[in-house]
């Protein structure tokens, strides 16, 4: 197990220097699925940033017209049961998804980097203990663990970010630890140490740049997972609370009208699916470029 992890990490260290303007990187940039994914994500970012400008209506203003008006000229994606503009709600909802996704992943990334370095670079008791803790966390399906944490913390958007951040941290700990372990054994690190470099300089200049690739790849996939998870928790009523237009809440409302208005769940669910698909396409591309061995 350990030897497999070490050889995997060696490959990580061997590939990582290609990050940047390398041939592999440019090749990936020309692949249509990756370009399509990146374009969808760019649109999403734009929509979130410019929500007040591009949303045709206030996302929580009711009675803009008769409830469940299907998509048409007046309302591009129709009106929900309370007469709210679905398009505006989806545009504002993108802010919630991006916010929860980025904060949750940032929490996991920060925690994982610190603890992973502690574990892989300094070893000892902390390493043993942290590995057992990550084992314990990996024993639960991620969504289920997030739910249990939400039960304890209470249902609101802040706790969604905290719960998902905690659930995703162990994967970064593992990833960083393995990378740091492998990089520490490289000759150039020994050389830098012999030349008098301190721990901080060793880590920042010689060890961490080598694990950047796999961390970037993990971040893209975790980000997509966090968006799905936030919508899932909100869908079940244990995440973001109304009237905040979370995609999960909109889908949960739409679910009540499957027979009368099938277009309604299709709009918001379709957007959610497209965004996650885009993230996965870009993630696959990043993995091929930065971390080919794990593909």
């Amino acid at each position: 197990m350990r030897s497999a992890a070490a050889s995997g990490a060696a490959s990580i260290a061997a590939v990582a220097p290609r990050l940047g303007g390398s041939p592999a990187w440019r090749r990936i940039g020309r692949r249509p699925p990756v370009v399509a994914g990146a374009a969808i994500l760019a649109l999403l970012l734009l929509a979130a940033a410019l929500a007040p400008l591009i949303a045709p209506h206030d996302p929580i203003e009711q009675s803009l017209g008769p409830g469940l008006t299907p998509p048409g000229r007046a309302f591009v994606l129709g009106l929900d049961s309370l007469g709210r503009d679905v398009a505006s709600r989806i545009v504002y909802g993108s802010r919630i998804s991006l916010l929860v996704g980025s904060i949750a992943v940032s929490i996991a990334l920060t925690g994982g980097l610190l603890l992973g370095v502690l574990s892989g670079f300094y070893r000892g008791l902390a390493d043993t203990l942290l590995m057992r803790v990550t084992d314990a966390v990996f024993s639960f399906p991620p969504v289920l663990l997030a739910m249990a944490l939400m039960a304890a913390l209470g249902a609101n958007i802040r706790n969604v970010m905290i719960a998902l951040g905690i659930v995703y941290t162990p994967r970064y700990i593992r990833l960083v630890r393995v990378g740091v372990l492998a990089a520490s054994e490289q000759e150039y690190v020994a050389a830098a140490r012999a030349a008098g470099a301190g721990d901080g300089r060793l880590l920042l200049r010689h060890v961490l740049p080598n694990i950047l690739g796999p961390v970037v790849v993990q971040t893209s996939f975790s980000f997509g997972e966090a968006i799905i998870a936030e919508a899932a928790l909100s869908f079940l009523g244990i995440g973001t609370q109304p009237p905040t237009p979370s995609w999960g809440l909109i889908l949960s409302d739409a679910r009540e009208y499957l027979a009368q208005a099938a277009w309604y769940p299709a709009t918001v669910g379709g957007v959610l699916f497209l965004v996650v698909l885009a993230i996965n396409l870009v993630g696959d591309g990043l993995r091929d470029a930065l971390d080919p061995r794990s593909a």
Binding site: R132, D135, A136, V143, L144, A148, A151, A152, G269, D284
Partner: protein, 314 residues
């Protein structure tokens, strides 16, 4: 073999302890007084104190943990705050639905995922193989709760093939209920199917490049025999051995699927309990799932070491 088993069990022990600590800790991290939160604003002080005493929350954590652990080891997961019934009974009453779903989704995923994966590898470059690849990334990206709604609209509302929700999936007692399993099975299994298809394809492609496959072909064996006897046996080892672990992971998705289709399983019990902030049930379910995972992991390792003796001596 028994030495290997003993070593694995010793390795598991610290993880087990940490899992119980994690689950026990759920009650400690509530913001504010957990009892007042659970019982809601209408609870009298008397009731709050009574429940606090029942849950032993009037004692320090280091006193409660060993006692709680002792009871858990004897099958006592505490009492529900909402229904005042034993948590273990409430979970057991719902087990059948969830197990049926998990087994059915696992069977579906293995069948479809492995078949399409092998096909895509054997017909590499063909349009159908490309289609399998596209389907795999679509299947991996569609949230299972959205897929469930899509299936409901198409199969339930438009085509009227199956009832939309609140149906029986007790297939052991009513074989005709098998059709009711179609939607929940696909919705729950799609993601895992996609994953299996991709893993199988990669695994088969790797084995196809081995020398012994070339030898088998050189002997003049039919392609079907080469794939069936020489390739699959080696390529599917990592796929098949992971089945138990993935079945436990499916329980995460089961929470959403049970809720959407109004099936009364462990997943929907969890959601009801979270909304009611009935933490003893949440603790009980989390603990059971964690233990199931450890068990699945152990079984996987043992199965693997039986099939591939190199593991035992590694």
């Amino acid at each position: 073999m028994s030495a290997y088993l003993l070593r694995r069990i010793l390795q598991i022990a610290p993880t087990l302890v940490l899992i119980t600590l994690l689950v026990f800790g759920l009650l400690q991290v509530t913001g504010g007084d957990p009892i007042a939160i659970m019982l809601g604003p209408s609870a009298t002080n008397e009731l709050i104190e009574q429940v606090r005493h029942e849950l032993e929350l009037d004692q320090p954590a280091y006193v409660r943990y060993p006692r709680w652990l002792w009871r858990v080891m004897h099958g006592d997961l505490g009492k529900s705050i909402r229904t005042r019934r034993p948590v273990a009974h409430m979970i057991l009453a719902r087990v059948q639905t969830t197990v049926t779903l998990a087994v059915s989704a696992t069977l579906f995923s293995v069948l479809v995922g492995v078949t399409t994966g092998v096909y895509a590898a054997a017909r590499r470059g063909a349009p159908a193989s490309y289609a399998v690849g596209v389907a795999a990334i679509v299947g991996a990206s569609v949230p299972n709760y959205f897929l469930a709604l899509v299936l409901m609209v198409i199969l339930g509302v438009q085509l009227r093939l199956v009832p939309i929700a609140a149906f029986s999936i007790d297939v052991l007692r009513e074989p005709q209920a098998l059709v009711n399993l179609i939607m929940p099975t696909i919705a729950l299994g799609a993601g895992y199917t996609a994953l299996l298809s991709r893993i199988t394809r990669a695994s088969v492609l790797e084995v196809l490049g081995q020398d012994y496959v070339r030898s088998a072909r050189a002997k003049g064996l039919a392609e079907l025999v080469v794939i069936g006897r020489h390739v699959l046996r080696n390529a599917l080892l990592p796929v098949v051995t992971q089945v138990a672990i993935n079945a436990v992971y499916l329980l995460g998705g089961s929470v959403l699927i049970e809720t959407i289709f109004a099936l009364s399983g462990i997943g929907s019990l969890l959601v009801e309990s979270i909304i009611a902030r009935d933490l003893p049930i949440v603790q009980g379910i989390t603990l059971v799932v964690g233990l199931l995972f450890i068990l699945a992991n152990l079984l996987t390792d043992l199965l693997y070491s039986l099939l591939d003796p190199r593991i035992r001596y590694a």
